[in-house]
């Protein structure tokens, strides 16, 4: 085989390999998810464990396949889609000094609302233009620390941009807390958020979540050995709840927690013993002794449904080395909470994959009743990573006072900054009333920690270094710049009141989604099969060659779409149909030309050459016309129009390659293989 032919083979094989590579995540994802669905169908205990093991083993592969896969649009798989808009104008209005607002101000607001209601232009810019056009001064309307026009404008700008980030932060946290998997939340344009949910049933609850106002609170951190006791009490209460036992929580706890009782009984005599002997005794009493690892794990989960997830550590002070412990281990070794150091820095954490389970148990009312009245157990808002650079793999567990010491609405401003040693910090200012209370609280809690809690999750728990008299605080810690920005956004949630409105909502029920995907796929498949058969019947060998190119075209177009992170939607299918039609047309043009040449008595080689070169200009022009038309649709069109145009653009470019370059290469390979006549369905010449 000559080197020239090698090039032609490569022309055919390489794109196919590339398409395979690009589509692999999609294929792998569907393989993995069907494997997972099979496991998930088994709801027995063994089945659940197998599923949990599978999740651990395949976590990375599954995540990467999911990230790289071709996504199906709402119209093809069901689910819900919400567009939210942050009302920036309302924010501007509410940050103005209530006493300064006059009719002029109101009419400017009204004009701005009209001017911005039908487009995504920047509201603040429009407002400022109208404001200045009337010769007004911002400082006459807005309160500010520095009374310059510039400073007020900067503050407004910061608040307006921040309000979208803030809404996004608040909403993603709520959605995560709600435990809906695979929810995507994205910023769109200057003041919109798009939320996609895979399951339509969630929309009503989702709406409730979205319409709550953020609740920001400061709560004292109460972390000592009482926490450990509370965890065991939760175990007992949850077990009782699960077995449907009597509602009197305290009693049930005692009755149900037999293991604890046994261990406790063994403990009483040795209360004063050192931890070492306690551990020895514990070993002798190990209730799980002699059990297989698997059986042991099962028993532990049954006995400690809550605390088996928790890992703790305690250190005498900030400098000393913390001592690690796990709650099940303490019980097994016969260490009671009372034997743990009374004073010390306690930390508790749970593995990231246990978060939902942990929150689920905490949400049970009977469980809440088992927690001491003054205490509340909360989880950190964001996961932490054990090592830098890895995925967050654990969450902190906090014990905080149930009563809030201060509400977040006293915060006037919060912004990220840097301290003297150039470490990221968050600056926070409070209003007069808040400052007084803050001075009292910080004064009474020097050396203790105060948690920043929003929607029942802890965002930060800084230690109070000293009394803060004027409400102007600096929060420092081991955070990165983005953590500081995030915390600032959250702190402002208490101050900013930019309402969020749902302006568009689409729901496709699962029955419609399933039905449409099934029928859509079958009929699309049938349509393509029909075209493929028709081409073979009409153009014989030529048709078969064109079919190879056609299949390659579809494969490459879909792969191209996947590579660009596109979503396949109904309009996308329309684009695919059009580009396929154009690919078929390209080959028909070529074959009709070839036939003309063959009828004119040309040899096969020259007929093939002439066929391609004569048809080329028509194919090029028609595809380029469509490409030219698709580009403005991509730039200026919205959602579905864009989806159509992207598929068409990719398809048309690929058509130029497959229908012309690839089919020609195949014909030339056939000729190089010695073919002198070829059946492209022409009439036999007598």
């Amino acid at each position: 085989m000559s080197s020239k032919n090698w090039g032609k083979w490569l022309l055919i094989v390489l794109p196919l390999a590339a398409a395979g590579l690009l589509l692999w995540p999609t294929i792998n994802y569907s393989l993995l998810s069907s494997e997972r669905a099979e496991l998930a169908a088994d709801t027995s205990r063994a089945g659940r464990e197998a599923l949990a093991r599978w999740d651990v083993d395949n976590k990375e592969a599954f995540e990467s396949a999911r990230a790289g896969r071709m996504k199906l649009g709402l119209d093809l798989r069901g689910g819900a889609y919400l567009t939210l808009e942050v009302d920036v104008l309302k924010l501007i209005e509410s940050s103005a000094d209530a006493e300064a607002i006059d009719d002029d101000f109101r009419s400017i607001i009204e004009e701005t609302r009209k001017a911005t209601s039908n487009s995504d232009v920047d509201v603040l810019t429009v407002f400022l233009e109208k404001f200045r056009a009337r010769g007004k001064q911002l400082i006459n309307y807005f309160p500010a620390a520095e009374l310059t026009e510039q400073a007020v404008e900067e503050k407004l700008r910061r608040d307006a941009t921040g309000s979208v980030d803030q809404a996004m932060e608040v909403l993603s946290q709520r959605i995560n807390k709600y435990g809906v998997s695979e929810v995507s939340i994205q910023k769109q344009g200057s003041r919109r958020l798009v939320i996609e949910l895979p399951d339509e049933k969630d929309t009503v609850q989702m709406r409730e979540l979205l319409q709550q106002t953020a609740r920001l609170e400061f709560k004292r951190v109460l972390m000592d050995r009482r926490m450990v006791k509370a965890f065991y009490a939760i175990d007992a209460a949850y077990k009782a709840y699960k077995s449907g036992a009597a509602p009197v929580v305290a009693d049930t706890a005692k009755a149900a927690d037999t293991t604890a009782k046994d261990v406790a009984a063994a403990d009483t005599a040795k209360k004063a013993d050192t931890a070492k002997t306690a551990a020895d005794t514990g070993k002798a009493n190990d209730p799980y002794k002699g059990l297989s690892e698997e059986e042991k794990g099962r028993r532990i989960i049954a006995d400690f449904p809550f605390s088996y997830m928790v890992f703790g550590s305690v250190a005498a002070n900030e400098q000393s080395q913390p001592q690690q412990f796990d709650l099940v281990g303490l019980k097994v070794n016969g260490v009671t909470p009372e034997q743990l150091p009374e004073k010390g820095m306690y930390m508790f954490r749970i593995p990231a994959q246990k978060l939902q389970e942990f929150l689920k148990i905490l949400a049970v009312p009977q469980v809440r009743a088992a927690i001491p009245a003054e205490l509340d157990i909360l989880v950190s808002a964001n996961g932490n990573a054990t090592k830098p650079g890895v995925q967050p793999d654990y969450y902190e567990v906090y014990g905080v006072a149930r009563e809030a010491d201060l509400m977040g609405d006293v915060i006037e401003d919060a912004y990220p900054s840097f301290d003297n040693s150039n470490q990221p910090v968050v600056m926070m200012n409070m209003n007069a009333e808040g400052s007084d209370q803050w001075a009292r609280i910080t004064g009474a809690n020097i050396g203790n920690r105060i948690a920043v809690v929003m929607d029942d999750r802890v965002w930060s728990a800084p230690t109070v270094q000293g009394k803060i008299p004027n409400g102007s605080s600096q929060i420092s810690g081991s955070f990165r710049t983005e953590d500081a920005m995030r915390l600032a956004v959250v702190l402002k949630a208490g101050a900013l009141k930019a309402p969020v409105q749902i302006i568009e909502e689409r729901v496709v029920g699962p029955s419609l989604g399933e039905d449409s995907i099934r029928r859509g796929l079958t009929s699309t498949g049938l349509s393509f099969a029909l075209i493929i058969l028709f081409m073979m019947a009409y153009y014989a060998v030529g048709g078969a060659v064109a079919d190879v190119a056609l299949l390659m075209n579809i494969l490459l177009t879909v792969a191209g779409l996947a590579a660009f992170g596109g979503t396949l939607t109904l309009p996308g299918i329309a684009g695919l149909i059009l580009s396929t039609a154009m690919a078929v047309d390209a080959n028909i043009l070529i074959f009709e030309r070839m036939r003309e040449e063959l009828y004119a008595g040309k040899t096969l080689k020259s007929a093939v050459d002439q066929g391609f070169s004569r048809a080329w200009s028509a194919i090029l022009d028609s595809n380029l016309t469509n490409i030219a038309g698709a580009i403005p649709l991509i730039i200026w069109g919205s959602g579905p129009i864009k989806g159509f145009a992207i598929t068409l653009l990719i398809g048309a470019i690929i058509t130029l390659f497959t229908a012309v370059v690839v089919t020609r290469a195949i014909f030339q390979l056939l000729i190089a293989g010695g073919a002198t006549t070829l059946n492209i369905g022409q009439k036999r010449t007598a």
Binding site: T83, T203, E504, V507, S523, F534, L624, P640
Partner: protein, 326 residues
């Protein structure tokens, strides 16, 4: 197989008739479809733009009892306080589309509430009588934006296509193509509105259905470019041949390709019309009619206009020359 022999059909002699016919059909169709309700003639308002362009809420439900009638649904909704609801049946028996235009807020509540109320009204022994197939809520702001975006992007796309064809061929070819495209979309739109009004298929004008019209545009421009390309080639080959003859020759030479491509694509779309399900069938139907119209317009609109316009301009030029000589 070779079904289409070398032909010599006269496509051009009656061009004036076809051009007028197409123009007339487009105008009457548009007036009929976009015009207001004329009660005197018993003519209802035909166009029903979907909520994508008007704003409002739309809920699609499916009744377990397929014999449920639109009247029963209307009655139940009226009792539940939804007096302004429009009810339309579509697709399978027992499937209804309920639209409420005057609700701007809380659509998921409306949809969920509708399903609850209908279940309460129709279910016996606590069985689920109604399931929610889908719900859309489009705020007035979004609907205005969707319409503007669609219009802007379409206008720019048209201008770019015109410029490209004018650049690759001649300006008059670009004009001919755009006129033919306008004709295709208009006629396909008129037919869709009528079919939708007759309740055969759900062909409401939505942002998704725009993609079907874009497909028609794409297919049609492809068809025109193929013919124009042949004219361009033949003009070189047969110098001095009158334009009408040149166009007719080119139409005949490309006829085989036009029909074979058309037939294979139409056959594929027909499969989707019948088997595509609720979502694809309307889509495929619009494309099907559009492609038939587009194929016709390549021959009788684009080519006819090309000849008419060129000859008129030439005639004028000749007149102008004659005038200066006189």
């Amino acid at each position: 197989m070779d079904l289409i022999k070398k032909t010599n059909i006269d496509f051009v002699t009656n061009r004036g008739f076809f051009l007028r016919l197409s123009l007339l059909a487009s105008i009457i169709g548009m007036l009929l479809v976009l015009g207001p309700e004329i009660p005197g003639l018993g003519l209802p308002r035909l166009i029903e733009p979907g909520i994508d362009f008007t704003g409002g809420t739309q809920t699609t439900v499916s009744f377990a009892n397929t014999a449920t009638s639109a009247e029963q649904v209307r009655g139940a909704l009226g009792k539940a306080g939804y007096t302004s609801a429009e009810i339309k049946s579509f697709g399978k028996d027992g499937d209804f589309l309920i639209r409420i235009n005057d609700v701007q807020d809380d659509a998921s509540r409306v949809s969920a509430d509708l399903v609850t109320k209908l279940n309460a009204a129709f279910s016996k022994n606590g069985e689920k009588a109604v399931i929610l197939l889908g719900a859309d809520n489009v705020g007035a702001k979004v609907s205005a934006e969707l319409a503007t975006d669609a219009a802007i992007s379409l206008i720019i796309a048209t201008i770019i296509i015109l410029l490209y064809v004018a650049f690759r061929f001649e300006f008059v070819y670009g004009i001919s193509a755009i006129i033919a495209l306008a004709h295709d979309v208009t006629m396909a739109f008129v037919i869709s509105v009528l079919v939708n009004k007759l309740g055969i298929l759900n062909l409401e004008l939505s942002i998704n259905s725009l993609a079907a019209y874009l497909t028609i545009l794409g297919y049609s421009i492809n068809d025109k470019v193929v013919v124009f390309d042949r004219i361009r080639e033949n003009r070189e080959k047969h110098r001095g041949m009158p334009l009408a003859e040149l166009v007719n020759l080119s139409l005949n030479e490309t006829l085989s390709r036009t029909l074979i491509t058309g037939i294979s694509v139409l056959a594929a779309l027909l499969v989707m019309v019948f088997l595509g399900g609720d979502v694809l069938e309307g889509f495929a139907f619009t494309m099907f009619t559009g492609i038939v119209i587009g194929t016709y317009s390549s021959v009788y609109v684009a080519s006819s206009f090309l000849i008419w316009y060129t000859e008129r301009v030439k005639h004028k030029n000749v007149g102008a020359v004659a005038h200066t000589e006189a």
